[in-house]
């Protein structure tokens, strides 16, 4: 077990180093000059040269990478071209908003997916199953920005139950935080929930058809015990994987929903960094996203060993 964990952790570190090289190469290969963007359309050459030098962009790429990665190891991700703020500060500033939204969204998603998916699987081709399929199809197909705007118009505009947009920090006002969270979390939660509903349904169905379930029934176990001990436990395995992936996706920022709800999350930060070719922020953000993905994958793999002891062998 510990050997497995150690091996997987080491692998993750190697992957992360590879990602750092790839990220650095990619952002510098993309067209677009951050200095020109920072200066807008009106400027003269001397101004351009001065800013280029101040930003360190006149250095060779290898030197720039060496400087970046050596300070990144110590936790210093550099300073934004755009705002002059340290990248770690910019990321930390937006982390609470992203964590709130990702957490609330996955909660909404699981609240939808687990009951709906299980019930659909237990009564396949029933009216409930049909309803579940329709709902999850709609959730997957409807664009998030449209769903978001409709929720704003109805629940913030017409009914006035929730604020139209914006984020309130939990530390400032817990009630306001919860109110500001509802509409964006429902928007993203519906999409993730729809994906998860389909997965829940298919994995429960698969588990129901398995031979050990038939055996369990044959030895006279009640339907509830069969479901809890033999079906759901097995169905959980793929579901944990997919939930982990969904959570990683939500944590790396949901750009569209963040823009619609003026939500100051990591997605908007990354988008602004792309638009401004703000290399330090972009590199820092992508490195963080990669880290989150690897971490969640690691957690999922380790959870597997708990759920299914055969895997650590």
């Amino acid at each position: 077990m510990t050997g497995f964990a150690l091996r997987r952790t080491l692998q993750s570190v190697v992957v992360l180093l590879g990602v750092s090289v790839a990220v650095f190469a990619l952002v510098h290969l993309v067209d677009g000059d951050p200095v020109r963007l920072a200066l807008g359309t009106r400027f003269d050459q001397a101004t351009y040269d001065a800013l280029r030098e101040r930003s360190g962009l006149d250095q060779p790429l290898a030197v720039q990478y060496a400087q970046w990665i050596s300070s990144a190891v110590t936790g210093d991700l550099g300073v934004s071209f755009r705002s002059g703020d340290p990248v770690t500060v910019l990321i930390l500033e937006r982390l609470p908003a992203t964590l709130s939204l990702a957490g609330a969204s996955i909660l909404v998603a699981l609240l939808i997916a687990l009951p709906l998916g299980t019930v659909s699987a237990l009564r396949p081709r029933s009216l409930l199953d049909g309803l579940g399929t329709v709902v999850s199809q709609v959730g997957i197909s409807v664009p998030e920005f449209w769903m978001g705007i409709m929720l704003i118009l109805l629940f913030a505009g017409t009914l006035g139950w929730f604020p139209a947009s914006g984020y309130v920090p939990l530390s400032e006002d817990p009630a306001g935080w919860a109110r500001s969270l509802v509409l964006p979390a429902v928007t993203t939660g519906l999409v993730s929930g729809s994906v998860l509903t389909r997965f829940t349904r298919s994995s429960v169905l698969e588990a129901l058809g398995a031979e050990h379930v038939r055996t369990a029934r044959a030895k006279g176990l009640g339907p509830r015990a069969v479901l809890n001990w033999h079906v759901l436990r097995n169905a959980l395995l793929p579901l944990v994987t997919v939930t982990g992936v969904q959570l990683a996706y939500l944590l790396s920022g949901v750009v569209v929903v963040e823009i619609v709800f003026a939500w100051p999350g990591l997605g908007q930060l990354a988008l602004q960094a792309v638009q401004a070719r703000d290399y330090p922020v972009l590199q820092g953000a992508v490195l963080l996203f990669a880290f989150v993905f690897l971490l969640l994958n690691l957690v999922v793999d380790l959870l597997y060993t708990k759920l299914d002891p055969r895997i650590s062998a």
Binding site: F43, G84, A97, S165, A262
Partner: protein, 508 residues
């Protein structure tokens, strides 16, 4: 906690606010003792990139800085004249090479330190010596000197009639205190303006009234700029009284909103213009007749409506109709047959393909390009719309790697801004390689002409040549459209889009 409370109390109990406000000029009870963020929330569409007025070029930053910093002089509300601000008055030497500014008395910075000539010299030296973003505006300034604590003298290499708009057209030339910690200007602010910068986060910026302000005291205790990118969300927040002002008004809704009692709409012609530029250094667009053919086939009214609905006016020159510098000149009328004759005369036979570079950073360029493409089809011209993100767009523009592009020039105050860098041979913004010695000569003379009417006559002649040669194919001047809570007073929509909240007062 603070911010949220104020907003809910505003939404829930307008009567409380009414109690504090006596309309214009307001004496809020407990002045100075109130909450820093007292009351007024403005929804803007983007987050400022930074707060250093000499380094940023982002409009979102200047929306905030307008209320925090002052310049020596500033544009009047209609944008037509430059008026006193930190300089109370000024004189020009007989040769036009020295300008002497007398500074206002009793002005203090937000840190309490007094304002004097050293601050002015420091600010301009900083821009010039460090080659910061607006250094090009001071190209003719050879010296800035403090004659005494109340007097500053500018020495110029040649007469510069546009000097006032160059040093005070917007807050990019703001006065910062001498010896300020320059790095701190990126994230904080020490100005002389009506509001101080209190805090800034990823979702909003808070300003608080500066009690030591030299002008009339602001009508609200504070201003919060909240960033709402999605127009539908901004308008819902406005009608729900979560915000009291926004400039994020979708152009397609302007005519509907005009009849809506829940919002008040302000609309004036801006000093911006949008245009199509063809690459004069690349065949066949180097041929004047080819450019004239295209200018004859483009229906500007249709392009304008598609791009901006009711919120813009078509124009064949750069300067909008309301301006003193406007020149009534519109030689082109839409005529496809005439356009075909011009193309044939230029020896262009057979199909022609024109790449037209646009950017989603300015979505109206994408829409305009689609309309223009359909209008050029009858000429046998296939327009290839090339949508690039703005960074790539700027790269290609800088390299001259294009057939044609669509963009706008924003915030022009002086005709120098409208014409000089764009059309002078080798000019700093002449990316499309236009060159006409007659235009150069007129621009040279206009740049140093001190008589306003004489100057206008020179620019008028230059404009006619520029339009005739189709250096730029001018399309339209957009309107500035902003919306606010009914009953809000003391706010004026300005053609230069400066957002000035110093006399705003909430409805009583």
């Amino acid at each position: 906690m603070r911010r949220r409370t104020i907003i809910t109390s505003l939404a829930a109990s307008p009567l409380v606010v009414a109690g504090c406000s006596t309309g214009e000029g307001v004496d809020a009870p407990g002045t100075g003792g109130g909450d820093a963020q007292g009351g007024f929330v403005a929804a803007t569409s983007a987050q400022p990139d930074q707060f250093d007025p000499h380094k940023t070029t982002a409009y979102a930053s200047f929306q905030v800085l307008e209320n925090v910093y002052d310049t020596l002089v500033e544009p009047s509300a209609d944008g037509e004249e430059m008026q006193p601000s930190l300089a109370a008055e000024w004189t020009t030497g007989p040769d036009g090479l020295t300008w002497t500014f007398t500074l206002r008395e009793g002005v203090t910075f937000h840190d309490g330190s007094p304002f004097d000539a050293e601050d002015v010299v420091f600010s301009f030296r900083r821009i010039i010596d460090q080659q910061l973003a607006n250094a090009y505006r001071l190209a003719t300034v050879t010296d800035v000197r403090a004659q005494d604590p109340r007097t500053v003298v500018f020495t110029l290499s040649e007469p510069t009639p546009a000097l006032l708009s160059q040093i005070g057209g917007f807050k990019g030339l703001a006065i910062v205190p001498a010896g300020v910690d320059e790095a701190s200007l990126t994230t904080s602010a020490v100005g002389t303006g009506p509001f101080t910068l209190v805090s800034s986060s990823a979702s909003e910026v808070s300003l608080s009234r500066y009690d030591g302000y030299w002008g009339e005291a602001p009508g609200v205790e504070g201003v919060t700029f909240r960033f709402i990118t999605e127009p539908a969300a901004a308008m819902t927040a406005l009608t729900g009284d979560q915000v009291q002002w926004t400039d994020n008004v979708p152009p397609q809704q302007v005519s509907d909103l005009a009849g809506d009692e829940q919002v008040e709409l302000g609309q004036v012609a801006s000093v911006d213009y949008w245009y199509l530029a063809m690459n004069c250094a690349k065949a066949p667009f180097s041929d004047r007749d080819v450019r004239r053919a295209i200018a004859t086939a483009v229906d500007r009214a249709a392009v304008t409506t598609a791009a901006r609905y009711e919120a813009a006016r078509p124009n064949q020159t750069a300067v909008p109709e309301d301006s003193f510098w406007y020149h009534d000149y519109a030689p082109f009328s839409v005529d496809v047959d005439e356009a075909k004759r011009l193309l044939e005369g230029a020896g262009v036979s057979g199909p022609l393909t024109m790449g037209l570079m646009v950017t989603p950073e300015y979505p109206e360029t994408v829409t305009a390009a689609q309309v223009i493409a359909s209008q050029l089809e009858p000429l046998g011209i296939t327009v290839q719309i090339q949508t690039e993100d703005f960074a790539t767009w700027l790269d290609r523009q800088g390299r001259g790697d294009f057939d044609a592009f669509l963009l706008g020039w924003l915030g022009n105050l002086d005709p120098f801004d409208y014409y000089d860098g764009q059309h002078r041979t080798g000019g700093s913004n002449n990316y499309h390689g236009y060159s006409n010695p007659a235009v150069d000569d007129l621009l040279d003379r206009a740049a140093v002409a001190t008589d306003r009417d004489g100057r206008k006559a020179l620019y008028d002649q230059a404009a006619e040549l520029i339009v005739d040669d189709v250096s730029y194919l001018y399309l339209y001047n957009p309107d500035v459209v902003q919306a606010w809570t009914p009953g809000l007073t003391g706010y004026e929509v300005r053609p230069d889009k400066a957002v000035d909240f110093d006399s705003v007062a909430l409805p009583s």
